[in-house]
């Protein structure tokens, strides 16, 4: 009788199959994913049934949870079968696991880049904090946020409140002789709100442009910033001026779509 890879790992770690099934069922309930029955697990363990993508996912999760070891699906299952098809299944599992692990990081990176710019702008323009120090303050705020993310309910509001307090504290420490201006002390006033909205818009447009494809971004840069003619851009791209016009329309449309999605996320 062939001993499956899953069975080998279970034996090496001295685990009980029932323990794994129970943990898998608990995780499945928590993650709202399909669970696995005791019988089905037995069949997978003994090689009498091939595990589906969902079953592999939940068994790997249960094994990670019970042992604290970061098992990969390929540590427990043969994921390179001779025929095609199953390869896609393996990829599906990998993608699913990778996307869960990296999703939070991606979101945090966007948060850092998009709001980081806004927070630096607030520190520099409203509180006159020098650029390097503003960047350090913003970094400290994100570090503080990471420790508190479980109970911060409105990220945007929290970050803006945090930069206000961090900047005021900076001014007090660096220039004890200088008094805070009324605009620093007032948490919310219409003028400040408007200014922050303006900076927010600027940060959103910047984030949008950084996400736009290279071709679109460079075409927009040439056309709007460098004020190159459509003929000059066409020559650079080795295409016709009519195509450049078409490209500009498409890129602006795409830009608007990204702006909308960014604004929705920030609201």
């Amino acid at each position: 009788m062939t001993v499956t890879r899953l069975q080998q790992v279970i034996e090496v770690h001295g685990l009980k199959p029932l323990q794994i099934v129970r943990e898998a069922q608990r995780l499945a309930a928590a993650l709202e994913r399909p669970a696995i029955s005791r019988q089905h697990f037995l069949r997978c363990r003994t090689g009498r049934a091939a595990a589906t993508e969902d079953k592999i996912y939940i068994i790997v999760a249960a094994m990670r949870s019970l042992t604290g070891l970061l098992f990969r699906p390929s540590d427990l299952f043969d994921l390179e079968p001779p025929v095609g098809g199953a390869q896609q299944r393996t990829e599906g599992v990998r993608r699913s696991i990778v996307s869960q692990e990296s999703g939070g990081t991606d979101r945090f990176e966007s948060l850092y880049t998009e709001y980081g710019l806004l927070l630096r702008t607030i520190a520099m323009r409203r509180y006159h904090v020098p650029p390097d120090d503003a960047e350090a303050l913003v970094h400290d705020i994100f570090a503080a946020y990471l420790e508190r993310s479980a109970y911060v309910r409105d990220v945007k509001g929290w970050l803006i409140g945090a930069i206000g307090n961090a900047s005021s504290n900076y001014i007090r420490k660096r220039r004890p002789e200088a008094q805070l201006l009324p605009e620093h002390e007032e948490a919310v006033d219409c003028g400040t709100e408007e200014r922050i909205e303006g900076w927010m818009r600027h940060a959103t447009i910047t984030a949008m442009l950084s996400r736009l494809g290279d071709k679109c971004r460079e075409t927009l840069r040439r056309y709007y910033l460098r004020e190159e003619s459509k003929e000059a851009i066409a020559e650079h791209l080795d295409t016709s001026p009519a195509y450049v016009l078409q490209l500009l329309v498409t890129c602006r449309k795409r830009a608007q779509e990204i702006l909308l999605s960014l604004s929705r996320r920030k609201e």
Binding site: Y112, T113, A143, E147, A150, Y151, S168, V188, I205
Partner: protein
Amino acid sequence: MKRYDEAKFEEALRDAKTWEAVDALRSRPARLQEALALKERIDSEDAAAARLLSPLLRSPLRFRNAAVAQNPKAQTAGVVRFLCAAANKRHEKRPEFSLELTLCAHEIAQSLGQRFCMALSLRERANALRYLGRFTEALEALDAAEEMFDESPAADPHDVAIVNYIRATVFVEIERLDEACSLSRKAADVFREYGDRPRERAALMSEATSLHFSGRNSEAVRVYVRVVAQARSDGDRMLLAHALNNAATAYIELQEFDEAESSLIEALVIFDELHLATEKARVVWSLALVQVRRGDLADGAVRLDAARRELEGLKLVNDHALATLDWAFARLALGEPAGVVGACERIVVRFESEGMMKSARIALAHLHEALATGSATPSLVSEIRTFLAHLPAHPNAPFIFSAGS
């Protein structure tokens, strides 16, 4: 669908600063790499904590037997954060267990020597103690927590505001109402500064409650109205209904019965939509009381009779007792005492301490005796009702009959 203003969009595209910022963003600065590394470390700590602790949280016994604080693998900030979050979820239903979790978190935080972790665990411990009614210890824990939130000028004000909010709710419980009011207000201001609307509303509710309990009903109404407006605009239906209900109680004391009635009717509709039968029954009871306070005793008595039966059906024994006394008051005031003796004989109250039960029994015995001898008056019933209603807040108060004296 919202579109960006074309003119502003083009203006930004023509601005060199926009493009400088774009290039800076695309270069992934070193600080971003540092932040991502920190995030990765925190995520991995949190994941390890979840793996270690999730199976242990299924029962207090299992958790206790695991001696988590002594486990070398548990000596991480992630474990402290996880335990505090787990405690926070359990305060309402299992405060004893949540206290145990926070004690373990604090022990680990102390051995790590991290002030933020210590502060976090002390704050959560205070929360657990508050739910357990151990108010002096809760205040001590809050004082210690506040001192330790001193490492991040950016985040400390928000962290301390949460401490102040918890402290204010403790002060309401122990009737240090002026302090509760000013602390709630202070906390609400900070929450507003940090865009934390749910906590701001909670702090406003605490401020309104402390004003209300101090008898400053006009001021209480003003704050409740602010909470109502915020809850309405944020779509927080549960809080909206509670704020309307509380505002109605303050309106009743101000004898503004039309306002009270309209607030109660709106609260009733929302509680009905939310399928909160007990809250709905209490609002029906309040509407009947408005009727009585308006002087419409006959109609009020009919409504109170229906309300008290509904409360009895829902097994809300103390509410049923108070509603029955309200009904008895109306019947005696109408000069129609039929049925009052029987209804009052069926009154049952339930309090946690034996001392409170004893006081309640003495008060009720006084009522039964007066009803049996035909000497019961509406003012006696009203006095006993007030005594029973205030007993949880004044557990050591003896019943002293003063009506007619």
